[in-house]
Symmetry: C2
Subunit: 366 residues, 2 copies
């Protein structure tokens, strides 16, 4: 059943450009997996070379930012398609590499995550202060220019003239805390890229770029059942989401437990984060079968963006709550952080609504 | 144009039970206004008698609560229909009485308003704490039983076991501040009811119960043009509302300026409060024309309830913000008040969405 959704020759699948493209009439087999992994490994090596060439001197330049992003992108794709098509890959090799890629992906993503979190929170503070805020020339630009680079953190933005004392102090506190976290993540990433652990990963990926260790029967094996299983895991996880509630605007669900004594991340967010990962695996499986050049499914993209926003808002809300637990802060600072926390939890709720709407469309139109 | 909406014989008006009832075929004239005012004045006197009979000893009983509510209800209706049908009433008499009714209405409503505000905020704090909260047996019941009476304030609810320190302290602070305000409003209302100013109003209303001072031409005058003008004022005010924004879920409009340095009530709420008053005047005008016994228009009721919720949430949010400006409060208290403020501002946004939805239905179905 799930398989038929991925079958490009199935007329019931309707006029989906992604499904019809690249290999219409062909059955995508193991060779396509090998080709995809080779291409992503090559991309990894290219990004790594670029990253090393630009070096610390080029930190913050467009090239350096692009290189870091390309590195993360290729690691996610190699790791994802190795996961989905695991039975077609040599077990020892694949079980050895996958945790290393997960480590690398996690290590490389933290610096950018802290930078984006800070940018999101400062933009929200400005919006909540009713300040006329030059979004692309002030804080946002300063933070985003610095945020995705390997360079030293940008100086804190200074245009707090329009903020109240509480909002300004909250902004300064978040800046201090998240910039420190970002600086640490930056050092950790640099250390990781110089470690023997990383060189072992890079060596394995270099091998992957020329020769993919498929199992004996894999080259001619149909990829579609494994891709369909990945899609089914996604569909099952979406079905388990509280979509009826999410589709009812202003359900006030996301802020429940907003003042709960439990300081851990909201447990209600976890299934949504899980769907986000499964959606990504589904997208990479489609890329493996039909090529990265095939037009991307706009609906999958929209759903994915909603879940990215969900994750970002969830983590930003947690950062605001965590900052509010800093000892000896002023009541006005704490108040602003409370407003900010609730604002981001409502962003979480809004993102769930957006996901429900895009997913609904998807079900109706296929 | 607006008149035709109120014309019960107009086939374009569609199957509205309210419009077709009571006087279909008749033209409602000044005599109906006199009848309505007499009935409301009689109701005022009945409620006042009941209120005095129950006295301080019966404070908090169901009778006492009903009497106070009936008093407020009749004052609003007398005042509202005097406003809409002003040209049909003797000018001197009417200009003398109307400000006195406004004073009385304001004075009598404050105690109940503070009690409802506290109840709303405590319920929200419990919801935000994720506490399992017996809504009708705990805080809500305690507050609502005490809130609408003329008796001494109820003791503060004590089931804060499930709240965090911040939420519990915020709840205690709001309780102190709003209970104090309520106690003062209670004293003010008692003083008002014993004042010579009130006795003068009561005397005038007693006269109204037997003889309504209409102008010479009023008894046979068509009431519909004045009722239509009231409806037109409502329609114009609704048209000026940002309904497109309000109808787009999670527009994040209500929390803009949530941290603004300006401590005054949100200026963006004012047009909605104004529509709430105009909707009430429109409802009273319909009652005057077609009788209080005629079935109420469910859609008007729903729209009115959304605007009541808007007003209540707006004032609750302001109370939370105001409590956060109390000197020397703990940061955890301030944080909880910030979350609470933002929560209530989102209630404001949700209420606007609900109004937009009900109003849309109204336009489509008539």
């Amino acid at each position: 059943m799930a398989q038929q959704h991925l079958d490009p020759t199935d007329p019931a699948a309707g006029p989906s450009p992604t499904l019809d493209s690249a290999r219409a009439g062909d059955t995508p087999v193991g060779d396509a997996l090998a080709g995809y992994l080779r291409a992503q490994a090559t991309e990894f090596l290219r990004a790594l070379r670029l990253h090393r060439e630009t070096g610390p001197a080029a930190a913050g330049t467009e090239e350096s930012v692009d290189a870091a992003r390309a590195l993360r992108r290729s690691v996610r794709r190699i790791s994802g398609s190795m996961h989905t098509f695991r039975p077609l890959l040599e077990a020892d090799w694949s079980e050895g590499l996958r945790p290393e890629l997960a480590w690398l992906s996690g290590t490389l993503s933290m610096e950018n995550a802290y930078a984006c979190r800070l940018e999101r929170l400062l933009l929200a503070l400005h919006r909540l202060s009713g300040a006329v805020f030059p979004a692309q020339t002030g804080v946002a630009a300063a933070v985003s220019a610095a945020g995705t680079t390997a360079g030293p953190p940008a100086p804190p933005p200074t245009d707090r003239g329009n903020l109240t004392v509480g909002a300004a102090k909250a902004g300064a506190l978040l800046e201090r805390q998240l910039t420190l976290a970002r600086t640490r993540a930056h050092s950790t990433a640099l250390q990781a890229l110089g470690s023997s652990r990383f060189h072992a990963v890079a060596d394995k990926v270099a091998v992957l770029a020329s020769e993919v260790p498929l199992t004996a029967t894999a080259p001619g094996a149909d990829l579609r059942p494994l891709a369909a299983a990945a899609e089914e895991r996604l569909t099952d996880a979406v079905t388990a989401l509280p979509l009826v509630t999410a589709g009812s605007p202003y359900n006030a669900e996301a802020l429940i437990h907003g003042l709960s004594p439990d300081p851990s991340p909201h447990p209600q967010d976890a299934p949504w984060h899980q769907v986000r990962l499964l959606l990504r695996l589904h997208r990479y499986a489609r890329e493996t079968l039909y090529g990265t050049g095939a037009p991307i499914d706009v609906r999958l993209l929209t759903a994915g963006q909603a879940l990215d926003r969900h994750r970002d808002a969830s983590e930003a809300a947690a950062a605001a709550a965590s900052a509010a637990r800093t000892p000896r802060i002023a009541p006005a600072t704490a108040y602003a952080l409370g407003v900010l926390h609730a604002d981001q939890r409502h962003e979480v709720e809004a993102a769930r609504f957006a996901f429900q709407q895009s997913w609904q469309k998807q079900v109706v139109s296929t």
